[in-house]
C-alpha cells in the first residue's frame, strides 16, 4: 500500500550486497543463527514484542477487554475516563473493548494473507528461477502483469460485489493479488543460486528436482522468504484496513478498519470523539510497523554492510598515541615514503581486530617494492591505510603510527588537505578494473573528473593528455570515449593504469592489478608497468599473492604474515636465501623454472584468526621448525645482512 512495503525488501534482491553473506549465514545453522541475530537487533526485538502483545490481545480478547464490543449500554460520546479508557462511540459502545476485539481480525488477515502470498511467491518464484526456459518465461510474464495491474481498484471492485463473502474471500483476494513482488525477488535469488557449487553438486549426485528445491534451495533463502512474508503482512494490514475504512467488507465485523469507517462516517473528530478515530489508526500503524521493523532488521542481518560498527578503542590490545602534529618530520634524502609503526584495526561484532600490526617500511624514489602474503594477511589493508582510503564504510581505522610522504604525515592530514596530494602525487590502481571504474561514466569522463579536481586544464588539454596516457599503456585512443563494460578485461586494467599516470605521480600503489587477467596478459602488463616506471621514474608498491609474478620486477620484497612484517629484503636475496620459514614455505609453493625438480610442499594449515592471534611468533603453529622459545614472547625483527626477519632462528646468525 505504501511504497515502503515494496521498498524495504528491495535490498535482498540486489546481488552485490546481499546473497553471498546471506547464503553463508543461512546455510550454517539456519534457524539458530537467525534467532541469535534477531536477538541482537533492537529493531527486531521491538517488532517481536509488539507482535507478541497483539497476539495476546487477539487470543484472549474476552479476558482482557472490560466490556463486550457490541454492547450499546453506555452513554454515547463519552470522553476518556477510568471506566472507559478511550471513551465511548456515538451509540454508547466502549472504544477500548472494540479495539481489543478488533485485534483478532487484523492479525488473522495479516498472517493469513502473508502465508498465502508467500506460498504463491515461493511456488512461482522458485519454479520460474529453477526450471528456467519456457516455464520461466511464462511465469515471469504472469508475475509482471500482476505487478503492474492496478490491484487496489480491482480489490475494491471485487470486494464491492462480494459483500457477503466475508473474511475468507478477503484473504484469498489479497493473497492472490499480493504475491507478485515477492515472486520476482525469489526468482532472481533462485537464478543466482542456480550456478552455485552446492547446487551443482546436488545435481551431479543425481538428486531429484523436488529434493534439490526443498533441501538445498529453500533453506538458503530463509531470509528472503521471511522478508516476503513480512512484506506481504504489512501490505495486508494496510490494504485490509483501507478496504474496511471505505466501507467495503462486512461493516458489522469487529476490526480496526471498521472502527475507522464508523468513526469517519460519524465525523468522530469533529464530534468530540477524537480517540475513536485516532486509536484504531495507531493500532494499524503499530502492527504494520512491527512487521516493517522486523523486515528491516532482517535486511540488516542478511546484509551486514547496513549496520554501523564503532571501533572500540578501549578493547584494543595496545594503543599508542598518534604522533603530534608539531613533531618535525625528517626523512632521508631520496626516501619518498616512510611508514612507521602503522597499526590498523577493524571493528567487528566480537571487538576490534588488528589487521596491520606495527608495520615499518621505507621506499626510495623510483623503487619497486612488492608486498606478498596469503589472503587475509593484511597486505591490502596496509596499502589502503597508506593511501588513507580506509574508513567508512569499510570500518577499518588507523589506530597508530605515521605515514610520511613528501615531508608530511598523511595520517594527520584532513580530508581536504589529502585531496591535494591524491592522484597528483599518489595514485592507486585497484585489483579489479571492472569494479574500480564507474560503470556509468566513460573512461574519458572519469579521466576528466580527476583532471578537473587537480588542474585548471581546458577540455581540449584534458583530451590531449588522456589520449597521451592511453597511448602510454598501448591502448588505441579511439577507446577513450568507451564505457568500461565495452572494454576487455586487459584493456580496462590498462585504462586504469593510464588514469593513474595522468599526473605522473611520485608513487603509485597497486593492489593486485594483474590478478584478474590470464597469465599472458599478466606478463605483458607487468613488463609495461616496469617500462613505464623506468621511463617516468615513479615508485611502486605492488601487492600480490603471486610471488613468482614479481620476482623479475621488484627491487625489494616484503613478506607479510598475520598483519606483521615477516621478512623484508632484496628480491634476489629473498629468492635465493629465504630466511623466514614462511618465506621458505611460500617459495616452496610454486615450481622453479630452472632449478632441479623438487616436490612442491606448500604450507599446511591456514593463517591465524587475527581476532585472537597466537602468542609469540604467529607462524609457529604452522612452522616446520618451531621451537618452544618461538611462543615465549613477541618476536622482534632481526637485521640479517641487510634484511629484516621476524624469526628467532636467525637470531643466532645475526
Amino acid at each position: 500500500m505504501s511504497a515502503s512495503s515494496v521498498g524495504a525488501t528491495d535490498q535482498l534482491a540486489t546481488p552485490p550486497a546481499g546473497p553471498a553473506p546471506m547464503v553463508a549465514e543461512a546455510r550454517s545453522g539456519r534457524w539458530g543463527d537467525l534467532w541469535r541475530a534477531v536477538g541482537r537487533s533492537k529493531k527486531a526485538v521491538v517488532g517481536v514484542l509488539i507482535l507478541l502483545f497483539f497476539t495476546v490481545l487477539a487470543v484472549f480478547p474476552g479476558q482482557i477487554a472490560p466490556y463486550s464490543p457490541t454492547a450499546k449500554i453506555f452513554p454515547p460520546a463519552l470522553g476518556p475516563s477510568s471506566q472507559h479508557w478511550l471513551g465511548t462511540t456515538n451509540v454508547g459502545e466502549d472504544i477500548f473493548s472494540q479495539l481489543i476485539w478488533g485485534t483478532r481480525l487484523s492479525l488473522v488477515i495479516a498472517l493469513a494473507v502473508g502465508a498465502v502470498a508467500t506460498l504463491l511467491a515461493v511456488l512461482v518464484g522458485v519454479s520460474a528461477g529453477y526450471l528456467g526456459g519456457a516455464t520461466d518465461g511464462f511465469l515471469s510474464l504472469v508475475t509482471d502483469v500482476i505487478l503492474v495491474l492496478p490491484i487496489f481498484p480491482l480489490i475494491i471492485v471485487i470486494a464491492a460485489y462480494e459483500k457477503n463473502a466475508g473474511l475468507l474471500t478477503l484473504i484469498v483476494v489479497l493473497g492472490v493479488l499480493g504475491w507478485s513482488y515477492g515472486a520476482r525477488q525469489l526468482r532472481s535469488q533462485t537464478l543466482s543460486l542456480r550456478r552455485r557449487d552446492f547446487l551443482e553438486s546436488a545435481r551431479v549426485r543425481g538428486e531429484r528436482r523436488s529434493y534439490v528445491i526443498l533441501h538445498e534451495i529453500l533453506p538458503t533463502m530463509t531470509s528472503l522468504i521471511v522478508a516476503t512474508f513480512l512484506g506481504s503482512a504489512v501490505y495486508a494490514v494496510l490494504t485490509a484496513a483501507g478496504l474496511q475504512f471505505i466501507g467495503l467488507g462486512d461493516p458489522s465485523s469487529q476490526s480496526w478498519g471498521t472502527m475507522l469507517y464508523w468513526a469517519q462516517s460519524n465525523e468522530a473528530l469533529i464530534a468530540g470523539m477524537p480517540l475513536w478515530a485516532i486509536a484504531p489508526g495507531v493500532c494499524v500503524a503499530l502492527l504494520g510497523a512491527a512487521f516493517a521493523l522486523l523486515n528491516y532488521a532482517f535486511d540488516e542481518i542478511s546484509s551486514p554492510a547496513l549496520r554501523v560498527r564503532k571501533l572500540d578503542r578501549a578493547r584494543l590490545p595496545s594503543v599508542e598515541p598518534s604522533s603530534e602534529p608539531a613533531e618535525p618530520v625528517s626523512v632521508e634524502e631520496g626516501t619518498i615514503l616512510k611508514v612507521e609503526e602503522l597499526t590498523v584495526a577493524y571493528a567487528t561484532d566480537g571487538g576490534p581486530v588488528v589487521a596491520v600490526d606495527h608495520v615499518d617500511l621505507e621506499l626510495a624514489r623510483g623503487e619497486f617494492l612488492a608486498i606478498v602474503g596469503e589472503s587475509g594477511c593484511g597486505k591490502s589493508t596496509l596499502l589502503y591505510a597508506i593511501a588513507r582510503l580506509l574508513g567508512a564504510p569499510m570500518a577499518g581505522e588507523i589506530v597508530g603510527g605515521r605515514v610520511l610522504f613528501q615531508g608530511r604525515d598523511l595520517v594527520l592530514l584532513e580530508e581536504k588537505q589529502l585531496r591535494a596530494v591524491r592522484w597528483r602525487d599518489l595514485s592507486v590502481v585497484m585489483q579489479s578494473a571492472m569494479n574500480a571504474l564507474n560503470p556509468v561514466l566513460t573512461v574519458a569522463e572519469q579521466m576528466r573528473d580527476a583532471c578537473r579536481a587537480h588542474s585548471d586544464w581546458s577540455n581540449a588539454e584534458i583530451e590531449v593528455r588522456s589520449r597521451e596516457v592511453l597511448r602510454l599503456v598501448s591502448i588505441d585512443p579511439v577507446h577513450l570515449h568507451s564505457y568500461p563494460h565495452q572494454l576487455s578485461g586487459g584493456m580496462r586494467q590498462r585504462a586504469m593504469i593510464a588514469m593513474a599516470l595522468l599526473f605522473t605521480p611520485e608513487l603509485i600503489i597497486m593492489d593486485e592489478p594483474t590478478s584478474a587477467l590470464d597469465v599472458v596478459a599478466q606478463r605483458s602488463l607487468m613488463m609495461q608497468i616496469k617500462e613505464l616506471q623506468e621511463e617516468l621514474g615513479f615508485a611502486v608498491i605492488f601487492v600480490t599473492h603471486d610471488m613468482s609474478l614479481v620476482s623479475h620486477f621488484s627491487d625489494r620484497l616484503l613478506v607479510m604474515y598475520a598483519g606483521q612484517v615477516a621478512e623484508l629484503s632484496q628480491t634476489s636475496e629473498l629468492f635465493d636465501r629465504p630466511l623466514h620459514p614462511y618465506s621458505q614455505g611460500l617459495l616452496g609453493a610454486f615450481p622453479s623454472i630452472r632449478g632441479p625438480k623438487v616436490r612442491l610442499t606448500g604450507i599446511p594449515g591456514s593463517p591465524p584468526n587475527l581476532a585472537n592471534p597466537p602468542r609469540g611468533c604467529r607462524f609457529a603453529p604452522r612452522c616446520p621448525s618451531a621451537e618452544p622459545r618461538c611462543t615465549a614472547g613477541e618476536i622482534p625483527l632481526y637485521p640479517v645482512n641487510g634484511s629484516l626477519v621476524r624469526c628467532v632462528l636467525v637470531e643466532d646468525a645475526s
Binding site: 500500500m1 512495503s5 535490498q11 481498484p153 473528530l269 521493523l293 564503532k310 582510503l389 564504510p393 571504474l437
Partner: protein, 223 residues
Amino acid sequence: MLVGLTTILAFVLGTMIGLVGAWRRGGLMDSAMPPIFVITSAFPYFWIAGIAIWLFSLKLNWLPHGGGYDPIDTPAWTWHFAHDAFVHAILPALTILVTAIGGWILTMRNNTISVLTEDYVRMARAKGLRPWRIMWTYAGRNAILPNLAGFAMSLGFVVAGAILVEYVFNYPGVGYYFLDAVTNQDYPLMQGLFLLITVAVLTAILAADVATAFLDPRTRDMR
C-alpha cells in the same frame, strides 16, 4: 495529477535524503532516519489524512478540509481560482508525501550503502575528487538504478493510496470518481478510469525505463 506529481516529488526528495543520509554514515540523520521512516511508512495513508484534516483545518483552521476548490468558486483560468485550487491541494499532497517518502529514503539509503562499498567509490576518493562529485556521480547515479525499477513497481500502491486520500478529502480526482463509480455501479465510468489508470502506470514505467537507459549505459547496449 495531484497524486502523480506528489509521487514524483516524494521519489525525488526521498532519493536525495536517502543518498545524503547514507553518505554521512553514522551521523545523527543516518541513525535516526531508519526507525522513524520504517514506522511512518507503516501508517495508513487515509488515517494520516484524517489526522491532518483534524489538526490543520479543524483545530488550527489553516487550510480547507476537503474538496478540490471552494464551492462558491467556478473553475476558471484565473489567479484567484488557481490559488484556491492550490490551497486545497496542500493537505492531500502533504499526506501522500509524508507516507510515501519513507520508503524511498530507506531503499535509497540501503542502495547507497551497498554502492559505497564498491571499488569505484574508493577509487573516486583516491582520485581526490570533491565529496559532492563522488556522492552524486559515483555513488548516487549507481544507487538510484535499482530505485528506478522499484518506482515503476510501486505505482500500484500509489494508485491505492490516491483512492483513499481522495476519498478522505473529497478531492475530485481519479480515485474519488472511481469509488463513486463502484458505489453507483457505473460500469462505463469504471472502465474508463481503469483505462486511464493503466495508461498512467504504463507511461510511468516507460518513463522509468527511459531514465534508466539515460543513467545506465549498460542497458543501452543490450539490443
